[in-house]
C-alpha cells in the first residue's frame, strides 16, 4: 500500500501535464471544426480530392467531416497516439526507474517481495491511465457538445471510443512493463517501448495506404479500435477485443515472472 501511494504521488505532476496536453489537443482540434463547419460539404470534397496518402495520414478515411462526430473521429486518432505513448512510457518507466535512479538498493532491500513491488506499481499505473482516460472522456464530451448544433447526443459514441482507447492504454502499459521487467539494461526500456509503439503505428498507416497489407492488421493495435468502425459502422470487433485482452493478460503475467527472475541492474 505504501509503495502504491508513493507511486501515485510521484505520478501526480506528470499526469496533470498530460491532461493539459489532452485538453489542448481536443480544444484546439475542435475549434478548427468550428471554423470549417460553415463551409458545409466542401470540406468533404476537399478531403476526397486529396491523395490517398494524405487522407491516411490525416486519418479521415470514410469519416464524414461535416458532422461533429466525424470530425472528432479524426481527433480520436491523435488522442489514441497520445494516451498510448503515455501508457507505454509510464509502464516502462515505473518499473525501470528504480534501477535507473539506483533506488532499487533502497526499495528492494525492504521486507517486500518483487511481486508486491510490481503489483503496487501496476495498480498505480492503472489509476493513472484511468484518470487520463476519464479526463479525455470529459473534455471530449464537453467540447463535442459545445460544437454540436443538432439534437443528437454523442455521449454513447464517445464512451465507446473511450472504451477502445482504454483497452489500447492497457495494452501499451503492459507492453512497457514487460519490456522494463525483462531487459538487461533498464535505461533503454522507455525508448525500446516507444519504438515498438511507433513501429506498430506506422504499420497501421502503411495498411491504410496499401490494401495488400491488410493481412498485417492484427499486428498493429492501432487498427483494432478505429473511430470509423466504432462510431461509423460495425462497432467493436470481437476478434480484436479477444486478442487485446489475451495480450494484456499475457504481458502482465510475463512482467511479474520476468522481474522476479532477473538480476537487478544496479
Amino acid at each position: 500500500m505504501n509503495v502504491f501511494m508513493r507511486e501515485l504521488k510521484a505520478l501526480r505532476k506528470s499526469l496533470v501535464i498530460w491532461c493539459l496536453g489532452i485538453f489542448a489537443m481536443v480544444a484546439g482540434g475542435m475549434s478548427k471544426y468550428g471554423a470549417t463547419e460553415n463551409s458545409g460539404q466542401s470540406i468533404n470534397e476537399l478531403m476526397a480530392s486529396m491523395p490517398k496518402a494524405m487522407q491516411a495520414i490525416m486519418g479521415t478515411g470514410s469519416l464524414d467531416l461535416t458532422t461533429v462526430s466525424g470530425y472528432y473521429g479524426i481527433l480520436f486518432l491523435y488522442l489514441i497516439v497520445m494516451t498510448t505513448i503515455h501508457a507505454v512510457m509510464l509502464g516502462a518507466n515505473i518499473i525501470s526507474k528504480e534501477e535507473r535512479d539506483k533506488t532499487a538498493e533502497f526499495l528492494l532491500v525492504k521486507p517486500i517481495s518483487r511481486k508486491q513491488v510490481i503489483l503496487s506499481k501496476w495498480m498505480a499505473s492503472l489509476v493513472a491511465i484511468i484518470v487520463l482516460n476519464s479526463v479525455t472522456f470529459l473534455i471530449s464530451h464537453f467540447m463535442v457538445d459545445y460544437y454540436n448544433k443538432t439534437d443528437e447526443s454523442y455521449l454513447i459514441e464517445i464512451a465507446k471510443l473511450m472504451g477502445g482507447m482504454f483497452i489500447l492504454q492497457l495494452l501499451f502499459l503492459s507492453l512497457g512493463t514487460s519490456i522494463a521487467a525483462s531487459i538487461e539494461y533498464p535505461k533503454r526500456a522507455a525508448s525500446i517501448s516507444t519504438a515498438v509503439l511507433l513501429i506498430t503505428f506506422f504499420l497501421s498507416m502503411a495498411i491504410d495506404l496499401n490494401e495488400n497489407l491488410e493481412i498485417l492488421t492484427v499486428f498493429t493495435p492501432f487498427k483494432y479500435y478505429e473511430a470509423k468502425d466504432i462510431i461509423g459502422g460495425t462497432g467493436y470487433d470481437v476478434l480484436y477485443i479477444t486478442v487485446s485482452v489475451l495480450l494484456v493478460v499475457a504481458m502482465t503475467i510475463y512482467t511479474f515472472i520476468a522481474y522476479e527472475k532477473r538480476d537487478l541492474h544496479i
Binding site: 505504501n2 535512479d101 539506483k102 533506488t103 532499487a104 533502497f106 521486507p111 537487478l264 544496479i266
Partner: protein
Amino acid sequence: MNVIESNQLTKMYGKARGISNVSFSVKEGEIFGFIGPNGAGKSTTIRTLLALIYPTSGSATIFGKDCIKYAPEIKKEIGYLPSEVFYYDNMKVNDLLKYSASFYKKDCTKRIRELAEALNLDLSKKIDDLSLGNKKKVGIVQGLLHEPKLIILDEPTSGLDPLMQQKFFELLREENKKGATILFSSHILGEVQKLCDRVAIIKEGEIVKVETMSALTENSYKKFRLEAVHHVTTEDFQLDGVTDMKVKEKTVSFIYKGNMNAIISKIAEIPLKNLWVEEPTLEEIFMHYYEKEE
C-alpha cells in the same frame, strides 16, 4: 548461532567473474569486517546476500533461512546502507525516512529523531539539496531506524568527515551492544581495524583469509625496522617469514611472521644503530596477503 552463512557462493556475469566460491560465516553479535580493494567482489557478495542479484551457484543463509527464498521475510530484520546512496527526488528527508519506516511494522518516529539528532541531520531539508555526507547520514538513519538485528554496511564511511565517522562508529557499537550483528565492508583497513572482531579478506572474487582481528594484528606479525651501521642488502635478511622488505641504504623494514629467535639471531649478526619492533598496521598485513598470492 551464525547469522550469515555463505556456502560456496558464486556469481558470474556471463563469463566475467563476480565472486567465486565465497564461504564465510558471521556469528551472532559479531562485527565482521569484509575487506578488499575496489572490484574485489564485496558489493557483489552483499547484493547476492540481499537477493538483489541471484547466485550462479552456491547458497547463503541469513538467520538460518535461505537468503533468496525467504528474502522478504529476512529483510524485516536487516538494515542496509549501500555504498552510494540514491533516493527519490523531490522528497524531504523526513518523508523518505517515514516512507522507509512504513515498510516495517513498528513505530520508528522516536528512533528517527534520536538518530537524526545524534548525526546532526536536518529532517526538513530536501534530499536533492543535501551534500554527499549528509545524504550518507540519511542512509545511516534509514538503515538503523527499525533497529535491525543484522546491519549490512557497504563502504559506509565515504563522504563522512572524521568527526561524523567517529559518531557513526559509536552508534554502531551501541547497536552491537544491544545485540545487533554487523557486516562491515570496506577498502579502508584502518576503520575495519577500529571496529571489527573478525575480518574476511577478499581478492579477485575469492576469500583469501578469514581471521580474528587480534590474530591478524597481535599474534603473528611483527613489523621490524632497523638502522645498520653499514650498508645492508636484502640478502642479509633472507629468512622464511620475512615479507614486504624495503631496503634504503642503511635502513631496512620488513614484516615477519615466525620464530622470534630465528630472526633475532639473524639481526644479531649485523652491527646496528637502532631497532624498532612494532605491531604492523592492517594495511601492511593486508598488502602482505595480496603479494603472497601473486
